[in-house]
Symmetry: C2
Subunit: 342 residues, 2 copies
């Protein structure tokens, strides 16, 4: 997935501005190894997004010479909105490989497969689980590395970004650090990984175990594992707990958006106060490897600088843990906090 000369067209139709469903696009633009040459979102055609031209059709994008069309959205339930079929067909017909991280596999869609074969392009599903998964064997507790898992109060609030930033900072310092991807965007960024939310439910913890074992095999003495969902999310909590137990972290970094009190998209489902979340995660960690929340990562993107600093101070006061926004203010201080507590 990291071959040279890959030039990406990101399909963001309808979602390129969306803070939640556009998270795959943003992750790939910010951290991916391949250049993003255009973004498709017809309502924004002619604009630019972080300096990248936005186009209205696949044909419009061809002058930027893309080689791969990447599905840049993360829909609820992981299915394609109906209008997307035409976009995928256009991409294939224009000779682009298609890469998707949805649960609905492009490589199992007979119409798309036939079209891809006719046009000599590849269809790749980032969320397709590897074969041979099973339950954990106990190898997670024997991995020769310190494991840090990002967790959070909701979906789409920065768990992947925080893990990526901490890993980048650790590697800048010369530490043997590896980012461990557990979802479609992380896989697109790192070129390996398993989308743990797409495996057979019984093998959730087993997939997480396999990932930390592989992180160590890739040379990691320090593993930053991308978290998924939230223990308090009414839709995705099972994935979260399987990942918490299977990845057997030594420490948690708890991600949160200051002021948020309700799960996004789930009216009536509250987010508990930060101190409760800290205690809940520590309590739910494996008794065989108790993990502490060693830092609070706040996503302060909705606040001005003063308010962001106030929110950080308040989180520290409330929880007694170091807090910061590692994306806004740099991940160095948070990495220091974590290393001091591992």
């Amino acid at each position: 997935m990291t071959a040279k000369h890959r030039r990406l067209l990101i399909l963001g139709e309808g979602f390129s501005h969306d803070p939640h469903y556009g998270k795959t696009m943003r992750g790939i633009i910010r951290y991916g190894p391949d250049p993003v040459v255009a973004i498709l979102d017809s309502a924004r055609a002619g604009e630019t997004h972080e300096g990248i031209p936005v186009v209205g059709t696949v044909a419009d994008a061809l002058r930027f010479d893309p080689t791969v069309a990447v599905v840049g959205v993360a829909t609820q339930g992981g299915r394609f909105p109906p209008a997307w079929r035409e976009l995928l067909k256009s991409s294939i017909a224009e000779g682009l490989d298609v890469e998707s991280g949805l649960h609905e596999f492009v490589s199992e869609d007979s119409e798309l497969v036939a079209l891809a074969s006719r046009h000599g392009v590849e269809l790749r599903d980032l969320r397709r689980p590897p074969i041979g998964l099973s339950v954990p064997t106990g190898a997670n507790l024997e991995v020769d590395a310190k494991i840090v898992l990002t967790v959070g109060s909701d979906c789409a609030i920065g768990k992947k970004t925080v893990a990526v930033e901490l890993d980048l900072e650790a590697r800048r310092r010369g530490l043997e650090s590896v980012f461990v991807p557990t979802g479609q965007t992380g896989i697109a960024i790192a070129g390996w990984g398993i989308a743990v939310d797409a495996v057979v439910a019984d093998f959730l913890a087993g997939a997480a175990e396999r990932l930390v074992v592989e992180g160590a095999e890739r040379g990691g003495k320090l593993l930053f594992v991308e978290g998924q969902g939230s223990l308090v999310h009414p839709l995705y909590s099972g994935v979260t707990l399987g990942l918490v137990h299977g990845s057997a972290p030594h420490a948690f970094v708890l991600c949160h958006v200051p002021g948020s009190t309700e799960i996004e998209g789930c009216p009536g489902h509250p987010i508990p106060p930060l101190p409760d979340l800290v205690e809940l995660h520590e309590r739910m960690s494996l008794p065989a490897r108790r993990a502490k929340v060693v830092a609070i990562a706040l996503n302060t993107s909705g606040l001005d600088d003063d308010a962001a600093r106030e929110a950080i101070a308040a989180a520290e006061a409330e929880t007694g843990r170091p807090a910061d926004d590692p994306v806004r203010f740099g991940s160095g201080p948070m990495l220091d906090s974590i290393l001091a507590r591992l």
Copy 2:
């Protein structure tokens, strides 16, 4: 699955005596709608098991005129031990349909499929998820029924059995009760259901929601939902939490084996004390529908009558909740306790 004239040969090779891996066999014998005419377990050939003849080969079983060979074991990881392939092939070659609840699907094994086609028999996978699953929609909170979920301190300690017994007792009393199956044995018993441990992990809670909606559609005003795994199980906790949140119970029945302090098969992974387990489940219930543990169901099968009664009294004293062994002493008193607290 409940057609007339089904006569079952249970394939229990190597496991028919095993308290854990033989649980599918025991559930089908005790609660299934179809007669079990023989059990295959070569090491015990010639014996009887609960009055049922044990045979050494499929050919030996034919004099009992079976029509379906049912895989009666629940292996860790849900795969077939290698020697089982021959058993399945013999069953097919002798003209028996094959029904399996393992994760490794018989209906996707090209050799078995070809053989089944040649012999005109069917291969059925009880754990195959239905199509069209997705995340919960909120319908779980709108089901017009009282939902009781069995949970537990470990796997294979009676969560399904307790749910079945409570449902039977409720129906004996004329209540509109439905047992909601969430695993392969429950499905074999009830003839419907979804094995929530076999669905795509993201759809765990969605599958659980669909099951309680269907339970109400089947006429249930009182739903006894079969629990899976344990919140404190290092292998299967994700499935458990997805089921807890997706089925949105009004009450829990907590199953436990008195005296057990470690997860079976997982040395070093402790089971917390009962009062901690009670509090943990109540805390992990959906904030939008808080659920209490309304009864403790002890599996006292390893104790004599006096010790069983002592264990029950101790559990009541420790937790302040009514406790009983509904299999040993009848499920009437426990149902009374539950109904008084719903």
